[in-house]
Symmetry: C2
């Protein structure tokens, strides 16, 4: 039988609240479904639950839009308070038009609305926005460490978001944080099957992991914000997900 | 136990030659490794083997570079004959600089070098280039039909390439052809877990399938150019992969 790469979404993760112990929630849900982490597993957590656990929620009622935010809200048709948060979380506005606001988020990510979502908070009526984690690579390292301490399993962690692309419709996975894995697999210098040296092949392993996890989470991704990938053959050298961000001076499409 | 999405690379696919029967090669390799296709499987084939089977090989010795190709070869440092083929396969040059030539390929794909690779032909010494299939959606439909006729299994087919991106390092999977699956899953109008109507969620299912398959194929992707995905929950409505190509008038980054 051919070697399997398997991915399963973890059922039964409760709605995450600020301050929650994500590792504990994940391990409880795994245990309840008869699963256990193994060495080499990759645990993929949706950005939303990491942000919520880290308390990255802002009440829109507390946001005072700047003049620039009001101007961009006029262009995009977006809530000026949301636009203000986007500006606070960004270093540059790349494009603004009706319904579209694409920025460079502080982490260097080119992303719509700085990755900020209107958030659902259970039982709450306040309009809340959910920002990206301050340092998703650190979040991934922390989650990895906590999972290891409690299970002994040497797992990798990827924190995943779903984003649009310049020339393609539809969202795909993007790794905004990772730990215990090489997010960008540089195969340059390896040889192909005819002995020719590969010149340009770098594979965005962590982004592909995020996309594969999205498939496993499926339509109910909001209810299943964690997936586990098993059987992945990829280098486990440590490098942050920021290694995937194209350097500004190499960007030809800004 | 949580539901599994599994992917395995099919071992033992021989080097593909022009005119080869891809369905036959895939089924022979599956059989030899003790595998069989099942209803609902997604068969992912690398673009290279589809192009080779369809004879999309061009000998560089037969290519006469135009003046424009010579000019772009000077800018990019690329072989003028390769540049000539890129121009013939493209409708527009988006960016040209040292080592970089990004075009809109005839299918609408924004892609480096029009997706053309220098090709390895077993035992051959001629310098060959391998073009994308003329109509990869038709290729996918043909492969799906052939697999179904010989096995009875109702599978989907995705023809996958690996491509770079504007703001991220590393390649990820891109579906250039598909059959038996909805490449773009439009969830707009569905409701989230709080009953709020989703406004913008369209998921590029087929591109994510291509990325997941890349992970299963791994470093030896050239030797394992076919993967099978099992357990995918996604709509099977028929739509071509060209549905993933962003319309020119909605492109903000050209």
């Amino acid at each position: 039988m051919a070697a399997r790469l398997t991915i399963f979404a973890v059922p039964g993760i409760p709605l995450v609240q600020p301050g929650d112990d994500l590792a504990g929630l994940i391990l409880d849900a795994l245990g309840a479904s008869g699963e256990a982490l193994q060495d080499g597993d990759v645990v993929v957590a949706a950005q939303k639950i990491v942000s919520k656990a880290e308390g990255r929620l802002v009440s829109l009622a507390d946001v005072e839009p700047s003049a620039r935010a009001v101007e961009l809200a006029g262009i995009t048709g977006k809530d000026p308070r949301m636009v203000e948060l986007v500006l606070q979380e960004s270093t540059e506005v790349l494009r603004a038009k009706t319904n579209v606001l694409i920025v460079e988020q502080k982490l260097g990510l080119v992303i719509a609305n700085a990755g900020i979502d209107r958030s659902n908070v259970e039982g709450g009526t306040a309009e809340m926005a959910l920002l990206l984690p301050v340092d998703p690579d650190a979040s991934a390292r922390g989650l990895r460490q906590a999972l290891r301490e409690r299970t002994g399993a040497d797992v990798a962690v990827v924190i995943a978001d779903s984003v649009g692309r310049a020339w393609r419709y539809g969202t795909t996975g993007m790794a905004i944080g990772c730990a215990g894995i090489e997010p960008l697999w540089d195969q340059r210098g390896d040889t192909d099957m005819f002995g020719k040296v590969l010149e340009v092949t770098e594979v965005a392993i962590a982004d592909q992991i995020a996309s594969a996890a999205n498939l496993a989470m499926g339509e109910a991704a909001e209810r299943t914000p964690v997936a586990v990938m098993r059987g992945l053959a990829a280098p486990r050298r440590e490098r942050p997900a920021t290694a995937l961000v194209r350097a500004r001076h190499e960007d030809m499409f800004r």
